[in-house]
């Protein structure tokens, strides 16, 4: 029985059966939520908008990771470095070449995707844990590259400034304007991600995740699809990096460490692998925890006076670690799974099944 439609509703043609949004209720919720998001900045303070903006950038990055790890089953601990490639590409193209943002962001995605292909190539031969190392190695190579390319290009250890994105006379230079900028890309990524996993490629990814030898025997070209999954993953990371660069307006190496890659994987676990909404849930949940640590930073500083500025990093690490640990033990399928259970309960109420 298909649980995704309410009782008494039947599909009468193929298009209804394939639709993402199936009922008037869902249309209503989607439109209502969109309208809410449009007017949200009017009601909340600047720091909240900033928090949502940071969440939005992470959603794009984790979405890519969700397609690679959750759907295609390839582990990557290099998402933050791929994001870095996108951010540096964006910074160089925007500040040195002066391209507009609607050219820069796809270009950043493509450059990052190109590196994704290079580092995805071993995936065809390497499996599982070997791949983790290959992607960690990308972090080292990324660091080395940024520190050794000409200073005029990457700024090396001093970082690089990014001009604000402009569209006509509109300059995206404050949190509220960036909110709409980022949410546009988040919505676009969610739309693309949701639809990508329903295509032939998406089904091939799932087949590879479940059993790559069986998939190959059924005629799925492992080489093409594994490399494609890496390309998609790092394309999303590159877009996230570029959007991040426009948001923060200054980028440096310290924004793209291996720890952020680990945090992205953590967000994916908490949200739920193999689900597009899972990426959103995980990011919102963990980033919210992070904000709580950040806000309580001064208080923590009084309790542990010797640590200084490192308190937020270490506190967030401990908190994320504990949250991931608890999720792995008590809800390994993540928040998205709970959400599905809740939705089924709502549709079937008052019946149990």
């Amino acid at each position: 029985m298909d649980l995704s439609v309410p009782c008494g509703k039947y599909h009468t043609n193929y298009f209804q059966d394939q639709a993402v949004i199936r009922s008037k209720m869902q249309w209503g919720l989607l439109i209502g939520f969109s309208v809410l998001m449009v007017f949200l900045p009017l009601f909340i303070g600047n720091e909240w908008i900033g928090m949502i903006n940071r969440m939005g950038v992470s959603v794009i990055a984790v979405l890519g990771l969700s397609i690679l790890t959750g759907y295609c089953g390839q582990i990557s601990l290099g998402q933050s470095a791929f994001m870095g490639v996108g951010a540096y590409t964006c910074a160089i193209l925007a500040s040195k070449v002066g391209l507009p943002f609607w050219l820069v962001i796809p270009a950043a995605g493509l450059v990052s995707g190109f590196f994704g292909i290079i580092f995805g190539l071993p995936a065809v031969r390497i499996k599982g844990f070997y791949l983790v190392m290959a992607t960690i190695a990308f972090h080292y190579i990324f660091n080395f590259g940024i520190l050794h390319l000409p200073r005029g290009l990457t700024g090396r250890e001093s970082g690089i400034d990014v001009p604000a994105a402009t569209l006509g006379g509109l300059v995206f230079n404050n949190e509220t304007k960036m909110f709409y900028f980022i949410m546009f890309f988040v919505a676009l990524s969610l739309f693309l991600g949701k639809n990508l996993v329903r295509t032939k490629a998406g089904r091939a990814f799932v087949a590879i995740r479940d059993n790559d030898l069986a998939a190959q025997a059924m005629g799925v070209n492992l080489f093409t699809y594994k490399v494609l999954a890496f390309f998609v993953c790092s394309f999303f990371a590159g877009v996230a990096g570029a959007v991040w660069a426009y948001h923060i307006r200054y980028i440096g190496l310290e924004q793209f460490t291996v720890w952020f890659s680990i945090w992205f994987v953590g967000m994916l676990i908490v949200g739920g692998m193999g689900s597009i909404m899972g990426a959103v849930f995980g990011v919102v949940f963990l980033r919210f925890f992070e904000e709580m640590v950040t806000v309580s930073g001064p208080l923590l500083n009084e309790i542990f006076p010797k640590i200084g500025a490192g308190i937020i990093f270490s506190g967030v690490n401990v908190m994320f670690g504990v949250v991931i640990l608890l999720f792995l033990i008590f809800e390994p399928k993540g928040i998205a799974h709970r959400w599905e259970i809740f939705k089924a309960y709502y549709r079937l109420f008052p019946y149990k099944y």
Binding site: M133, L213, V322, I324
Partner: protein
């Protein structure tokens, strides 16, 4: 000069091999790729520094206390993070080691602060050597220790009952349990041995370089590279791969750094690893897995 660098490379490489052995041990016995190995090394170093400097114990007692702490840590990890996951997919367990590494990293920053601490050496200060070759005593003892531990592990896995049980568990957890092997106890033993190895490596390294900080976990990254180069299966392979990485690293930082402007020493182990994995995906000494659907 070349000979001197090469011999120093061999010694530092065998220390990497020691770290990698702890990591391969867990993989061999439980099938888990322990991403927290670097943090285990780091926390071993902190335990040693804490008992030696903060408690002011003499070196032998400090080593013993550090090893006791490492054992307790391993027991805690096994009981509260690994045991609830018996029977879960390997991916979940690997993610759990990530969570452990985050907690250990953040926790030790909170407890011991991020500043770099100096640690007195427990080895003599004068360099050993012959002819034009000279090396630090800590490197030499690290070299001896890793050869000794390699010997112990090899005998252990071949001749002792516990070792055979560990190999059994790694081969098939369900099968092992059904013939009466207590999986949780075997896993606890594995984690203890691995933590002890990591702590021994950390003690030698810490008292050799004279400082303790969270950057010690970088040693674990080298350990991963070495372990994957070796192929995750072979303990002697870990030492050989460690030597390859160590020699390569020292030679690269001496001969290549002036050409590219520094940083090559850090990068080199990973470049070697990537190159070899492209040609031999299962590592130098790993077993080529025959898979069925």
């Amino acid at each position: 000069m070349f000979l001197n660098l090469a011999i120093n490379g061999v010694m530092i490489g065998s220390l990497y091999g020691l770290i990698a052995m702890g990591f391969i041990l867990i993989f061999k016995a439980t099938g888990v790729f322990n991403l927290a190995q670097g943090e285990l090394v780091m926390i071993g170093g902190f335990f040693f520094w804490w008992s030696l400097v903060s408690l002011g114990l003499n070196p032998v007692l400090a080593i013993v206390l550090a090893l006791i702490f490492a054992t307790l840590l391993a027991l805690g990890i096994e009981r509260y993070t690994m045991r609830p996951l018996i029977g879960e997919p390997v991916l979940s367990v690997v993610m759990m080691t990530l969570a452990i590494s985050m907690i250990l990293r953040g926790g030790s920053l909170i407890v011991w602060n991020p500043e770099v601490k100096s640690c007195p050496s427990i080895f003599p200060q004068n360099y050993l050597g012959f002819g034009s070759v000279s090396f630090a005593p800590y490197l030499f003892s690290g070299f001896l220790l890793s050869l000794f531990i390699l010997l112990v592990f090899t005998l252990f896995f071949t001749y002792t009952k516990l070792g055979l049980k560990m190999r059994c568990v790694s081969d098939n957890q369900v099968g092992a349990q059904s013939i009466g092997i207590p999986i949780s106890r075997i896993m606890a033993a594995t984690w203890i041995i691995s933590c002890l190895t990591a702590t021994l490596g950390a003690i030698i390294f810490v008292s050799g370089i004279g400082t303790v900080s969270v950057d010690l976990a970088e040693l674990g990254m080298k350990g991963f590279a070495v372990g994957l180069l070796a192929g995750l299966e072979s303990l002697p392979g870990a030492v050989i791969a460690g030597v390859i990485v160590g020699v390569g690293e020292i030679l690269a930082s001496f001969y290549l750094d002036p050409l590219v402007g520094g940083g090559m020493g850090h990068l080199f182990p990973f470049l070697v690893m990537m190159a070899i994995l492209m040609v031999r995906p299962y590592g130098l000494f790993g077993l080529k897995e025959i898979e069925r659907v």
